[in-house]
Amino acid sequence: MQQFVTVTLNGLTLAALYFVVASGFTLIFGLMRVVNMAHGSLYLLGGYIALEIQTRWFTSDSGLGLSLSGASDSEYSVWAWLVPLILATLIIGVIGVVLQQVFLRWNQGQDLRQALITIALSVILADQMLAYWGGISKDIAAPSAWPTSITLPGEVRFGFFRGVVVLSAAILIGLALYLIIKRTRFGKIVRAGVDDRDMVSALGINVNRVFIGMFFLGALLAGIGGVLGGTMISLAPGQDTAFLLNSLIVVIIGGMGSLGGAAIGALALGLVDAYADVYLVFGDLDLTNYSIIVTFALLVGVLAFRPLGLYGRPA
């Protein structure tokens, strides 16, 4: 029972992280039909930028600075985590806008070409990040004042950052996105744009400005995800690929462009990942190595019945 609760919490927190990252991916696609293959790169870059700010501004050089994990024994205040989070997130948002304005804006409508452009950018970004931050995995330090773990009823201990911070961040972000999309003027335009872009621009709305806003928001979410993920798991080359794949699977399951679909897809993927890693043991037969097949089966199962995903609509 204890194990089950822990595994479920693992799945939920993974799902929370997947949701934050994938929601940006799906929102950009929903409005602009842009498949941003560099989304995983923005995730990783966000984490690395936060790490850089944290080590430059908030790490006192008390140790020898030789620690491989990047974590030294210095104390971190809450600001030492929040300031990098906010700055890195904003920087990634701006990078997203620059990317859209420089490379994608004049290709609007050519979705394959845009996908290829973002793939090229992700190749370059991955290589440059490897050059600058190296191949060893690094962590962003959580504030030292925060407890490392909490005890839930039933004697279940679970990581505080993972269980409380990431989960509540994902819920807050989900609520905020819901309110932005449902209640604000920007959200209204976005929803109209998803249904009929040409009509929206014919009505005199500056679509380019809406696109800028959406790319800022979408990239920003990748950045937040990167900081959360960099604190919760770690930052390493290859995480960009992993989170691009996760975002792809989440939105393929949930349906491209749907926020609710992203939430359902993230839950499905996170829980399946967590359970398959632990419960694929039948007596002496240990199949946990094959857990990726369960993920694959989930994807295939959804696609076999709903080729556009659970909440997907034809473009």
């Binding site: 793939i119 090229a120 190595n289 993920t295 696609l303």
Partner: protein
């Protein structure tokens, strides 16, 4: 991206010259060049050709080709005598046939799932397939060994490449030529024309009574067979296969090769592969070192920038540049070429 797909017949003289040049090249260049550049060009070109075949004639840009070639390569390496993996140690020729069969069947399965989606959805689903294949083989060490399957047994026809790379090179050349001719011929059969119809007007083809999903699935299966050939040849080339050699980077490399060559003409596959192999081998020597940003170790940045420039400048790749140059030179003297098939699917 909508440069016209060539429906011309094969330019036999050009093909003869190209194959002839490849055939006599070993007389003039070093063994290293034969292996590292020419052999690699040929098998990498086959992998890219399977992608271009789907993209040009079926309108399906598939990123699953490396996943499928990985399955073929892994299947072959597991079936023959090797260091790591299942090590079934059966006859290499039989293993070759089985590996291609497995790859084709898996390809048909992938195709059946992916075929009902179109365009960008298709790209994403096939990318997910490819990456899942990579994760599968990196997790299941019983099938991929720890650190890959090494010293894989090769069929007798390949000889021993360490001593004499020539038989392997000539075999790859023959296979590449056959793949090129086969895919070219196939595109002019009723099936190939049906594929192009499905690409341009799926709704009308459906109305004409074509089973669009089945057509796409079969096309995908054929491309999977070709990708499988490339996978087995890559094992011949490396005499080993690791999960790392079929990861996302390799998936993207094959896409880069196809796009550099030109997504709309089969011959672009080998042109792209040659460009890629040359840059891969020689860029380390002439690329200036600019801090951390550029230098011998930053091959991916270089190839990424080249990829970006090609995508931005010439959607038809190098072949597209060649075609438009030729068109410019010829237009004053000749009547314009017949209007090519317009590609309406974006």
């Amino acid at each position: 991206m909508n440069p016209a797909v060539s429906t011309k017949r094969i330019a036999w003289p050009a093909l003869a010259v190209a194959v002839g040049l490849f055939a006599v090249a070993p007389l003039f260049v070093s063994d290293f060049f034969v292996s590292a550049i020419l052999t690699k060009t040929l098998w990498l070109g086959i992998a890219a050709a399977s992608l271009i075949f789907l993209a040009a004639y079926g309108g399906m840009v598939s990123l699953a080709q490396v996943g499928i070639y990985g399955i073929a390569g892994m299947a072959y390496a597991n079936l023959v005598l090797a260091d790591g993996g299942a090590g079934t140690a059966i006859n290499p020729y039989l293993a070759l046939v089985l590996a291609l069969l497995i790859a084709t069947l898996v390809g048909l399965g992938f195709g059946w799932i992916a075929a009902r989606s179109e365009g960008i959805y298709f790209l994403m689903i096939t990318l997910a397939f490819s990456v899942l294949v990579y994760y599968f083989f990196s997790q299941v060490t019983g099938l991929s060994g720890f650190g890959g399957i090494n010293s894989v047994d090769l069929p007798g026809i390949v000889g021993s490449p360490e001593q004499d790379p020539l038989p392997r090179y000539l075999l790859t050349l023959v296979v590449a030529t056959l793949v090129f001719l086969g895919l070219g011929a196939l595109s002019r059969t009723a099936f190939g024309l049906g594929m192009q119809g499905v690409r341009d007007e799926p709704a009308r083809m459906r109305a004409l009574g074509f089973d669009v999903t089945l057509h796409r699935t079969l096309a995908f299966g054929i491309a999977a067979f070709v990708a499988g050939i490339a996978g087995v040849l890559s094992v011949f080339y490396n005499t080993r296969i690791t999960p790392g050699s079929i990861n996302l980077a390799q998936t993207i490399d094959v896409l880069i090769v196809a796009v550099i060559g030109g997504l709309y003409r089969l011959e672009g596959a080998w042109l792209g592969a040659l460009t890629y192999a040359l840059i891969d081998n020689y860029s380390r020597e002439w690329v200036p070192e600019v801090g951390n940003v550029l230098g011998p170790a930053r091959f991916n940045t270089l190839i990424g920038v080249l990829f970006l420039v090609i995508v931005l400048a010439s959607p038809g790749g190098l072949i597209g540049i060649w075609d438009s140059l030729r068109a410019k030179v010829r237009t004053p003297r000749r009547t314009p070429a017949p209007t090519p098939v317009p590609q309406t699917t974006e």
